[in-house]
Symmetry: C2
Subunit: 334 residues, 2 copies
């Protein structure tokens, strides 16, 4: 299977899950000291991951948790982010300029900063109060949801926490590689059909909204140089639907959380106005060992990523376009 | 001038400004009774207006004010919206189904609902605790910012409140029609050049982010049936920039608030990677009688709307496409 190293992917997921005692120790300390608000700080892909974690928590908890955009912070600011606030961030390089600038200002405010910084010794790793360094890519959501889960557990919103993580520890890594194998032929077919689309619409809701936002922008636009637009399922019905016709390429991500019903409205509509649509439904990917009631948590996002990873692998090969090159980003100053 | 009734537009703005004593009475009552959080409730265009008001307040106040998406409310919910919360909404028809559903649930929670409902007697007008009915279109932002301004005035964040509104009362309506006249030839030129674009990118930040979000979706997509994508200036630099080339149609909205610097980065970059860009800068539209320090408030948004209104008028005529017809929205059930 193209660009697929089964053992490495299992090790990556298992390694991320093994960060839990470290994360718990940090969150328990922050919890015991007390805090006013929690902010997931991000820009681009990390902003999308923050949206996922916050939407996830809003449905299950009354904890005051928000997404904070890095560039909006050092311009507009946020006076509710104080010396008693917890800020969670993630960075592969540890050098994203807008995040560095926001974090420096947050340090002056005195907020507590927890960074999942892949690169030890980087500027962001040095600036954070707590740093968790783990290099393998593709585990940001596991870390973000792990923080969310521990916070909710301490807040009394997640009684089955230990049971849930026992399921993930035992079954998640294997389940994801099996899902990816199952998605492989679909990924090839989708890539063959859509790799020259002039524009592709991606639609989703709940924790799939962050997923489509990130997939359209960080994968199609940034990596594959393919034009795409993400739109929330509920918002699609308030404008974007009018530009859809028979030939418009549209892909709907269906997840398994409480916003699924918003995407199901789009699923009902699309076949009546379009003949070039695709539904990707995480329900089509059963995972042994994970309870039905737990599928709407991080699993639903991760399964979708397994599917899109197959698409990307084939688009890269068929379009003869390496995903790691950039036309402009970090190529010159602006 | 096409689709331009100067006296009617002046009367519309002046009439909206005359709602102020009513709005002040309501907000003062809510203020005196106390509240925990303020939510601007919306979907589609009203969601965009809510984003504008919230971004505006975040830069100037520590009041706990948030945007609440209507469909996300009745799915994911928001446990921080309580019986002590103030919810502000706006609707032209008073029947938007997702908003009706959210409002019904919020009433059960016991939140205080302030509705700017154009249509008296509609379901939303009946459901709200306080209703302000004013039919002329295009005044949603004035109302939303009026609420924001009174809240900030009561919170001690806006000492020059009376002086500011004296400027608006005396000079805003006339200033906007003069700006629209000034923008007319640009609107025609832009419409002629871009009315058949396969895709058009709109970029903005600050209170112009809600403006580009709404303009791309509610005007280009929904009304003109033209494909477009909105992207925040800071996010544009984290993905979307990679799909821009010489011929890509890109329009940057430059406003006058604290996020202007984020758009100026895009302004610096675009000429180096694209030869089909347009900058629309509200600074190019001086308004007599409005102080420089007050331009970054609602005026900046309203000036941009004057410019885009000229574009829309000419696109409608040249494309032989009436802006008030819909292919799908409210045409059948889904």
């Amino acid at each position: 299977m193209l660009k697929f190293n089964e053992q490495q992917q299992i090790d990556t997921i298992q390694g991320a899950l093994e960060l839990r005692p470290t994360v718990e120790e940090i969150i328990d300390k922050v919890w015991d000291e007390g805090f006013d608000n929690v902010f997931y700080l991000g820009i681009g892909g990390t902003y999308a991951s923050g949206m996922q974690a916050v939407t996830y928590m809003n449905g299950r908890s009354d904890l005051p948790v928000y997404v904070q955009h890095a560039a909006e912070y050092y311009t507009t600011g946020n006076r509710r982010l104080t010396e008693k606030s917890l800020v969670i961030l993630s960075s592969v390089t540890g050098t994203t300029q807008e995040v560095v600038r926001a974090v420096k200002e947050m340090k002056e405010v005195g907020a507590t900063l927890l960074g999942f910084i892949d690169k030890a010794g980087s500027i962001l790793a040095e600036l954070c109060d707590y740093v968790v360094c783990y290099e393998p890519l593709g585990t940001e959501q596991i870390k973000y949801f792990m923080v969310a889960d521990r916070l909710m557990n301490r807040n009394g919103d997640f009684d089955d926490y230990e049971e849930y993580y026992a399921e993930l520890d035992n079954y998640l890594a294997k389940g994801l590689v099996e899902a990816e194998k199952k998605a492989d032929s679909f990924g090839l077919e989708f890539a063959q059909k859509h790799r020259h689309d002039a524009m592709h619409y991606f639609i989703g809701a709940g924790n799939q909204w962050g997923a489509v936002y990130s997939y359209a922008m960080c994968y199609w636009e940034e990596q594959s140089w393919l034009r795409s637009k993400s739109i929330h399922s509920a918002e699609f019905l308030h404008g974007t639907l009018e530009v859809i016709d028979e030939t418009t390429p549209v892909t709907l991500f269906l997840g398994e959380d409480e916003q699924r019903m918003l995407s199901e409205r789009v699923k009902n509509l699309l076949p009546r106005i379009c003949a070039n649509y695709t539904f990707i439904d995480t329900k089509d990917y059963p995972v042994d060992g994970i309870s039905e009631k737990n599928r709407g948590r991080v699993l639903s996002y991760l399964l979708m990523h397994c599917v899109t990873q197959r698409i990307d692998a084939y688009v890269e090969k068929l379009n003869c376009h390496p995903l790691d090159i950039r036309r402009y980003y970090r190529q010159f100053d602006y």
